[in-house]
């Protein structure tokens, strides 16, 4: 049973400018999703940080298990050939 006395937690994602991704900026409490957007606007965009807001109930986020860090992420360490650093980038290509 959900405790109604405590507002649920929301994670906040802000898009700084058109064309950029929404980035996680923090979290806040709100009674509902609309209030979460208002709070996010007041807490995280008061210095013109963004042009778009996403809020997601924190409980909806499924996270990887910290105890599995080794098996999840270590195996990628010796596969440097996956990094695209072996290509010559032509001068004409400006933003890659």
């Amino acid at each position: 049973m959900e405790d109604k006395r405590q507002w649920p937690l929301y994670e906040v994602f802000i898009r700084a400018r058109g064309g950029l991704d929404h980035k996680h900026v923090g979290s806040l409490h709100a009674a509902d999703a609309n209030m979460a957007v208002d709070h996010a606007r007041d807490l995280y965009t008061r210095r013109q940080e963004g042009v778009s807001i996403w809020v997601v109930p924190s409980k909806a986020i499924v996270a990887s298990d910290p105890t599995e860090t080794d098996s999840l992420f270590e195996p990628a360490r010796d596969k440097i050939y996956r990094h695209p650093t072996f290509y010559e980038i032509p001068d004409e290509v400006k933003t890659l």
Binding site: M35, D38, H39, D42, L43
Partner: protein, 273 residues
């Protein structure tokens, strides 16, 4: 303000030099103070919540609205000082005027009460300011039109914030519903003054500087009824009242607000941050 424009210097002494109107500066001064004082006093009232809000998030939410209102007051009082032409700037007007020289409608100075009461006051004034300033963006007074255009964007959010809360509380628990309904009964009579048109309001409307208050009222009541219906609240009956905050006759609350707001400038004249 383009005080130096030759056309204005040539044949006007008393009239403001912006816009296509020739209202005397004393009337315009008083009218601009009505607008500015409403924002200033309400902003100061809201500021009392800082550090006391029901949640940290609301602390910032309320403070943001308060700061917008103070920002509007600064623009309006600065303009009023220029219109008056006696060298008073925004600070002199905000900090060194007596209660009787404040011209806000007295709804703005009513106490915060509980959070619900603050929200009710806010919805009533936000909806009023929104309808008023939306129409003032086409004012013949270019400066007021510009201030209105900037403020409308802020006020639209204020109403979204306050009406969102009113719906949550009104359509919330039995207790929250009863509390905001009582607050509505308490504050509703003061709304009469917002729309009570006197000679000054009429002059401004006739001169194309401000919209007719009857027109603003028609739009306001539609907006308020929609919000109240969503909040499952009952609109109180209209009762005749004669408040005269707009002419400088205030409730006992304004004195306390000014005492707190003006203390520093009066105790340490010309103190700077």
């Amino acid at each position: 303000m383009s005080l130096g424009s030759p056309a204005a210097d040539a044949h006007t002494v008393d009239a403001p030099t912006v816009g296509g109107h020739t209202v005397d500066s004393q009337s315009l001064f008083r009218y601009v103070l009505r607008l500015g004082d409403l924002s200033l006093v309400l902003g100061q009232r809201l500021g009392e919540w800082v550090g006391h809000s029901p949640a940290l998030e609301e602390d910032l939410g309320v403070a943001n609205v308060a700061l917008d209102l103070i920002g509007q007051a600064r623009l309006l009082l600065t303009y009023a000082g220029e219109v008056e032409g006696r060298g008073r700037d925004e600070d002199k007007l905000a900090y060194l005027r007596e209660q009787g020289a404040y011209f806000n409608a007295i709804l703005a100075e009513q106490p915060n009460g509980d959070f619900g009461q603050t929200i009710v006051r806010q919805v009533l004034i936000d909806a009023f300011q929104l309808e008023l300033f939306e129409r003032m963006t086409t004012s013949l007074d270019a400066r007021l039109a510009a201030i209105a255009a900037k403020s409308v964007k802020e006020i639209r959010y204020h109403l979204r914030y306050s009406s969102g809360w009113l719906v949550r509380l009104g359509d919330g628990t039995e207790e929250s519903h009863d509390r905001v309904q009582s607050a509505l009964e308490l504050l509703w009579p003061y709304t009469v003054e917002l729309f009570a048109e006197d000679d000054l309001d009429r002059l401004m409307a006739d001169s194309g500087i401000a919209p007719r208050l009857s027109e603003v009222h028609d739009a306001w009541i539609l907006s308020i009824e929609a919000i109240l219906s969503e909040a499952t609240l009952k609109r109180p009956a209209d009762r005749p009242h004669a408040w005269h905050g707009k002419r400088g006759q205030h409730s006992e609350h304004l004195g306390y607000i000014l005492a707190e707001m003006q203390y520093l400038q009066r105790a340490y004249p010309d103190a700077r941050w």
